[in-house]
Amino acid sequence: MKSRGLPEVSSQALGRLKGVLHVDRRSVVGMETAPKPGRGDPPKKDKPQAKRKKPRRYWEEEPTPSAAGASPGPPRKKARTGEPRPPRSQSARIAQKPRFSKKPPIPKNASDWKKPQRTLSGAQDPFPGPVPAPLEVARKFCRIDKSKKLPHSKPKTQSQLEKAEAQEEEASVRAARAELLLAEEPGFLVGEDGEDTAKILQTDIVEAVDISSAAKHFDLNLRQFGPYRLNYSRTGRHLALGGRRGHVAALDWVTKKLMCEINVTEAVRDIHFLHSEALLAVAQNRWLYIYDNQGIELHCIRRCDRVTRLEFLPFHFLLATASETGFLTYLDVSVGKIVTALNARAGRLNVMAQNPYNAVIHLGHSNGTVSLWSPAMKEPLAKILCHRGGVRAVGVDSTGTYMATSGLDHQLKIFDLRGTFQPLSSRTLPQGAGHLAFSQRGLLVAGMGDVVNIWAGQGKGSPPSLEQPYLTHRLSGNVHGLQFCPFEDVLGVGHSGGITSMLVPGAAEPNFDGLESNPYRSRKQRQEWEVKALLEKVPAELICLDPRALAEVDVTTLEQQKKERIERLGYDPDAKAAFQPKAKQKGRSSTASLVKRKKKVMDQEHRDKVRQSLEQQQKKKQDKAKPGAHPSALDRFVR
């Protein structure tokens, strides 16, 4: 019924339009109307004409006085005016219909009218001011803790601090706005519905990715010279590998170009690049040796004997060595001096990791503890009891927030390093993990026998989730060394059968900083970087748990200086002077009046103190009331 009604309405409208046209023609040509026989039709049409003529009257009223005024020549002028009338009437009617039929759209039309006026005048900008930076991104670059306040500082110091904080905030906003310019996106690996990413094989990943990425997966079968240790340079382009039976090689692993290959005819326990790929440190059976990238032996350091592990601190130019004799030695490679040799007093040192955030060395011991060391202190900075058995592996992530340890009790634990050293999560492994490493974006890899397990977190800043592995790979030999390649989604594994380069999507930081570590730097850029790095070498005395301590105000020394000043001067120059009432005239400064005014001021101060203490007591009561609510019997029903 309704569907049938609609076309009727449309046909009626069309009919009305045609009728209107006819009426116009008839009025123009008076002769033709008489011979048409249909007399009954006109009265019906006349009625809608009359209704429609009402709005016409507003249009007709205007020309009628002019027509009346021009009485001598009415036929000619009427004929002329008749011609333009039809288009006007048509446009008027077309405009009128939507007005009547669609009342709600009228405000839209009004708003449409207003907008062009504003744009034409240019008075209002739809997006005023600079682009707002997202708060969570700006928080990443914020370094100042505004909650800290200096105790009783002077107004000038306060204003200086506020100005510095404002500048720091402005810098973080600008850095957050510059995040838009980062071009590369991190990699990812997502399984289909119900598919476990841990079951995805490397061959599947190699088949799925592009050719240049597939070329990054390779296997070096080197079974003759025993299990291999490996190390990537800081830019991630060069790979150094050291076999247990004396095989030492360095190559550009992307282009597979061999830089040098030698056999040192001695057991090689660890290998590490120094500040650039031109220098290589090899921990051999008796002493520590330094080679260049051509394989030429440069130094033999006999004070570092029976070294088991090597770590290089790149900003301090310190090579840290752990030895079988229980000594942790720091060698300054820029001047060739041993900065300090610390006795860990824990037997053979075989487990070592570096915290990249603060350059503190983490040593794992056979009694289940991990100790933190700095070259400026003779005692460890901290000792953490991690496992019931001995510690087998330690790893620290790049932000210095999380530490992963594994022990002989088959436990894999993740600790929070931000001051509390509390365990966050733990997991029992079928086989104890002998090697641990973190990637640049927080992925954790563990080598257990001939299997490599990788765990990933929810995001970049969150700890890795140990429930479900992210990737798994079985090797052709037992794992002997693990490291993620910087700025590439590649994991290097050294094992008894050689070297395996694994593809791990999402492991690396996609956007590098060209002034820090540039994988594509030229020789000239490397030389310039080397000079600047040596000029800005951080002294070893500055290694501590919080590297930002230099930017804080030394409140302790400030208090000490203040006490010394009071003692030296005999009085406190900053103390507030006692209230001295002003002398009033006309007999209003009598002794009684002065004493009264002093007492009034003292009472006011006393009243303020009492009010503050009362507020504190109320807060304490509120705090007490909260735990008091717990034993209420009605809490069961609130749940």
């Binding site: 598919e195 900003f315 930081e509 030229s522 005999g570």
Partner: protein, 445 residues
């Protein structure tokens, strides 16, 4: 399975040809920049050391005078022109770019007590011990003409100082009273005095141009208003003030060079307490001049050194001395705030850099950016002990150094005596007087 590997196009990170500059992508993530603060600290240390290495402030010595240089004047329009008056009545006009004397005038018999230039720079005025005020043309005489003053005024008393108005054709002289002169008249328009005093210096305020400041031998600093021909205010200090100088940016502040080794910065609206006491000299301060920026001033002292003080600090940031420089009598800061001129007893005018380690000449944009970064680093880490020790270290002559030690001992003895007196007296009977209020005896209106 959906997988995406990180794959970079090397063409986006390597320059196309050797003629291009290298591409340096930036990422400001703090994780990629560990050890921000220690590395900045090392850079600040390096910047401070380089500043001390490149601190070579002495530029030139202008020789030619045959007696001690008693007064200096700057050209208001030309940076390279400087006028100097000597104790034998000789006036020399120097060109600083050529470091040569371009003109010599025997202006007076005896001392040239004061010299000043007209605000338009066409002429300058000198006063001397022969009781005359002379006006000279800034340009030299024409061909065949002799050196003659434009105008000579014969006075009745000896004049000790002169200064020109900054906008009107009027100047002020001082001697036994302060006289205001019109350039076209031979007698002063009005004379102002406060009691009977010998006034040693007079200075016009560069902003409130009708105000004058003068210092008298009777330990006074008197402020005058030229429009009503009466003294405004007087402040009496412990010892005599040698000269004063108005701040060119803050109209109500001036600095007084005092005989008690200190300089006092006053706000003329509240003369009972100086705004700042500057106390690094070890002998009488003879002259003071402000930087055109109004943030620093330079002082000349009888201890054969000149010092640069920030306006709002009590200690100087710089001290300049040479082996042969004797008592420094006059000092000027050039109008571009880059150089300092000082005239001393042994007939030389010395030209120094206002910032000792500043590179002269045009800096490229990279040099300027590196310089700004180093300045910011030094400012950020200025309170660290190592940076502070290196930045504040200055070599001093043995006489000044031993004098500093001696005065420190004397000051400590006075402090200990006062502390003992306060300790052994009734509490409150020995009041604690702040350092600023110690030196003002009275303010008279």
């Amino acid at each position: 399975m959906k997988v995406k590997m990180l794959s970079r196009n090397p063409d986006n990170y390597v320059r196309e040809t050797k003629l291009d500059i290298q591409r340096v992508p930036r990422n400001y993530d703090p994780t990629l920049h560990p050890f921000e603060v220690p590395r900045e600290y090392v850079r600040a240390l390096n910047a401070t050391k380089l500043e001390r290495v490149f601190a070579k402030p002495f530029l030139a010595s202008l020789d030619g005078h045959r007696d001690g240089v008693n007064c200096l004047a700057k050209h208001p329009k030309s940076l390279a022109t400087v006028l100097s008056g000597a104790c034998d009545g000789e006036v020399k006009i120097w060109n600083l770019t050529k470091r040569k004397c371009i003109r010599t005038i025997q202006a007076h018999e005896g001392f040239v007590r004061g010299i000043c230039t007209r605000f338009c720079g066409t002429s300058f005025f000198t006063v001397g011990d022969d009781k005359t005020v002379k006006q000279w043309k800034m340009d030299g005489p024409g061909c065949g003409e002799e050196e003659e003053p434009l105008y000579t005024v014969l006075g009745k008393t000896v004049y000790t100082g002169i200064d020109h108005h900054w906008k009107d054709p009027a100047f002020a002289t001082c001697g036994q009273q302060v006289d205001i002169w019109d350039e076209q008249r031979t007698s002063p328009v009005c004379s102002m005095n406060w009691g009977f005093d010998s006034i040693s210096s007079v200075k016009f305020n560069p902003i409130e141009t009708y105000l004058l400041g003068s210092c008298a031998s009777d330990r006074n600093i008197v402020l005058y208003d030229m429009r009503q021909a009466t003294p405004l205010k007087k402040v009496i200090l412990d010892m005599r003030t040698n000269t004063i100088c108005w701040n060119p940016m803050e109209a109500f502040n001036f600095t007084a060079a005092n005989e008690d080794y200190n300089l006092y910065t006053f706000d003329m609206r509240a003369l009972d307490t100086p705004v700042m006491v500057h106390l690094d000299h070890v002998s009488a301060v003879l002259d003071v001049d402000y930087s055109p920026t109004g943030k620093e001033f330079v002082s000349a002292s009888f201890d054969k050194s000149i010092r640069i003080f920030p306006v709002d600090k009590s200690r100087s940031r710089e001290v300049y001395h040479t082996r042969r420089m004797q008592h420094v009598i006059c000092v000027k800061w050039t109008s571009d705030s880059k150089y300092i001129l000082c005239g001393s007893d042994e007939m030389n005018i010395r030209l120094w850099k206002a910032n000792a380690s500043e590179k002269l000449g045009v800096l490229t944009s990279r040099e300027r950016a590196a310089n700004d970064y180093n300045q910011k680093l030094k400012e950020k880490f200025q309170y660290h002990p190592h940076v502070k020790r290196i930045a504040r270290h200055r070599h001093l002559p043995k006489s000044i150094y031993s004098q500093i030690q001696e005065q420190r001992v004397m000051k400590e003895a006075r402090r200990r005596k006062e502390m003992n007196r306060r300790k052994h007296s009734k509490p409150g009977s020995v009041p604690v007087v702040s350092e600023r209020k110690k030196h003002v005896v009275a303010v008279v209106k």
